[in-house]
């Protein structure tokens, strides 16, 4: 008996939904085994990382606040990945977005109110987009690989952060600690009463539906999908590849900048050297785990936020470093990528009698 792969005419819709769930479950199972092998209570670690944040209601706020930037950045990246534009520098765009918001806040001085907050958030979107615009220029004008350029710009952004919070943006009353002055109460996003859930969480809940509409109902969404699936056909159809690169990177950067500005004005209220926490990289996993579908990204963002919060729980209960959550996040990404094979191919076991029946015609175009 051998295994044979048959290409499906269209991606399997069932598998698109089943495989992400299977990937998470497989990650949990393998996590127990791997951690036990390393001499750590694997069952406890997996329960704390994946379940405790969901079962303990006082952790829900935490999950919501951490999911917001992951969802927002993941949405932007999913657009790019659909068009085969690889922006892996969202972390830098996120940081620059927050710094631009901080710049507006510092310029506003003690003045606050909705207009100032709106200006800060706009500055974040523009800043993140501008940071991604450089790789876009390089890609469209010179053909520079955007994977490397977006990533290199992330490292540059971290140096910009270090320079600004230790110099021009440093809090004059901050005992020389490299951080911006905390925002005043009327410069921060409103909170849900008695919680730490800020308006940015609401934004993260609404945006996926907006993106869903945009991707499935607009010419733009169609263009992104066509360019990603069949670049040559897209060119014949009159869609400009360069324009797609621009849109993909500007949306990716703008969304990352928005996430940075919301995190700054909603959750942290100050920027220090610890501001970049890897959301920009984790959002890549969010985009894939969500199968590049806006609603999938919403769910995947919550799942990854759970592992973030759970990673902190496990840090205290089983004494593993915070970076350990990264092992689980990477395993999820490995599995979801590997499971693509089930989406695009029908796996048949030749020689076994039951395999000859093929299921009914698959659903049309995936992911709408």
């Amino acid at each position: 008996m051998r295994i044979k792969l048959e290409k499906r005419p269209d991606p399997s819709r069932l598998m698109l939904v089943v495989t992400p769930i299977a990937s998470v479950l497989l990650t949990m199972l393998l996590g127990v085994i791997v951690f036990d092998a390393l001499g750590i209570d694997g069952q406890r670690a997996v329960i704390d990382i994946f379940l405790t944040p969901l079962l303990a209601s006082y952790k829900w706020q935490d999950v919501a606040v951490k999911a917001a930037p992951l969802i927002i950045i993941g949405l932007g990246l999913s657009i790019g990945n659909r068009a085969n534009v690889w922006n892996i520098g969202a972390e830098g765009q996120y940081v620059i977005g927050a710094l631009c918001a901080a710049g507006v806040g510092i310029a506003a001085g003690p003045v606050g109110g909705p207009l100032v907050i709106a200006a800060m958030i706009m500055a974040g979107i523009v800043g993140g987009g501008a940071w991604a615009a450089v790789p876009a220029v390089l890609k469209t004008r010179l053909g520079v690989n955007e994977i490397l350029s977006t990533l290199m710009f992330t490292y540059v952004a971290l140096q910009v952060l270090s320079y600004l919070v230790g110099g021009p943006f440093k809090d004059p009353n901050g005992r020389n600690f490299p951080a911006t002055a905390p925002l005043t109460a009327d410069q921060t996003l409103p909170l849900l009463p008695f919680t730490s859930v800020h308006l940015g969480v609401g934004v993260a809940l609404v945006l996926p539906f907006l993106f869903w509409f945009l991707m499935s109902r607009s010419v733009f969404g169609y263009q992104i999908r066509v360019v990603g699936a069949a670049p040559h056909a897209a060119r014949h159809g009159g869609f400009d590849g360069n324009q797609t690169v621009w849109l993909a990177l500007l949306i990716g950067g703008g969304m990352a900048g928005l996430a940075g500005a919301l995190e700054f004005t909603g959750a942290l209220k100050t920027i220090n050297l610890g501001f970049p926490s890897g959301y920009g990289f984790t959002a890549i996993i969010v985009a894939f785990l969500g199968r590049l579908h806006p609603i999938g990204v919403l769910i995947a963002g919550i799942v990854l936020a759970v592992t973030y919060v759970g990673g902190q729980v496990a840090q205290t209960t089983v004494h593993i470093p915070n970076a350990t959550a990264g092992i689980f996040q990477a395993m999820m990404l490995f599995f979801i990528l590997a499971s693509d094979i089930f989406v695009r191919y029908r796996v048949r076991f030749i020689g076994s009698p039951k395999s000859a029946v093929s299921p009914a015609a698959p659903a049309p175009a995936a992911g709408e």
Partner: protein, 313 residues
């Protein structure tokens, strides 16, 4: 600026460019076989911790280097299984490998924080490195000579051997290589494992030579520079050596700026140290732009780079 200063600078530059040279040579072979492994940073970190751990446990840095090579190769084979056997997307799988390597190395490294390791002995009799000129040639870690030797080995292998020819054929036209009867997947597995081993040794250079200790994320993005270096070198081993020294100079400037040691340069005091720290990354982008301008209308990248192997069955 005396001769001693210049010689000391050259020695430092050669030292700090060694890890990206090692990792870059490995990735060069991988990409020549048509596979793009973006997980170099993760494999370097795994090499750094396995090399360190084995050295702590055995007391022998040479076994540590072997351990680093094995750790790097094993993590690369994990990547290989996903992209070669399961045909998963190479870009995203490479990213996953980097995230995985970062997390796993932190976890393993937990019990090695604060430990110290025995050092490599000097490569040559100490008498040879008494005067400055002697130091210039004979004072390096054995891994530096290994890296330099590997430049020639890789260049010779790719250009002069039959196996090298097959490897290049697999990277340039996998379907033809397959139809002649070569195992495309087999060749790619070997190349990927070699790339992982070299990245692992490059990582061990951090934990065994540069700082002799373990710290989370201690390779600080050098794996990504190694990737850029391969493009910079237009997939040629000799140019990779030149490129690694160029990046070495930039990293040396950063080290000196942090220590306030750039006083020989005019206006150096008014430039923030973060500028120098950002330089290697900015220059990578500048270099990529220059290369892309030069290569307009025909890149020197292997034709099958990053594409899955899908033979008609």
């Amino acid at each position: 600026m005396g001769t001693d200063f210049v010689i000391a600078a050259i020695i430092t530059i050669i030292g700090i460019s060694t890890p990206i040279l090692l990792a870059g040579l490995g990735e060069l072979v991988v990409e020549k076989a048509g596979v793009l492994n973006l997980g170099v940073e993760g494999m370097m970190l795994i090499g750094a911790i396995t090399g360190f751990a084995v050295t702590v446990m055995t007391g022998n840095p040479w076994l540590g280097v072997l351990g680093a090579a094995a750790g790097g190769a094993l993590s690369a084979l994990l990547f290989g299984f996903f992209v070669l056997t399961l045909n998963s997307n190479q870009v995203a799988t490479g990213l996953a490998l980097t995230i995985f390597g970062t997390g796993l190395s932190s976890l393993i490294g937990l019990s090695f924080v604060g430990r110290i390791v025995p050092q490599f002995g000097s490569s040559f009799p100490p008498a040879l490195s008494r005067d400055p000129i002697g130091r210039l040639f004979f004072s390096y870690s054995p891994l530096v000579y290994f890296a330099l030797a590997m430049v020639f080995v890789v260049a010779w292998f790719l250009r002069r051997t039959r196996s090298g020819l097959i490897l290049r054929a697999v990277g340039e036209n996998d379907l033809s290589a397959h139809s002649i009867g070569y195992s495309v997947i087999g060749v790619r597995y070997l190349a990927v494992a070699f790339g992982g081993a070299m990245a692992g040794i490059g990582g061990a250079y951090f934990s065994l030579v540069i700082t002799p200790m373990w710290a989370e994320r201690m390779t600080s993005g050098r794996g990504w520079i190694a990737l850029a270096l391969v493009v910079f070198a237009s997939w040629k081993a000799g140019r990779l050596l030149i490129g690694s020294l160029f990046f070495g100079v930039l990293m040396w400037l950063e080290l000196n700026a942090k220590a306030g040691g750039l006083s020989f340069m005019p206006y150096a005091g008014s430039i923030p140290s973060q500028f120098w720290a950002a330089m290697p990354y900015l220059m990578t982008v500048v270099v990529l732009a220059l290369i892309s301008m030069r290569d307009r209308g025909g890149s020197s990248a292997p034709a099958c780079l990053g594409k899955p192997f899908l033979p008609a069955t």
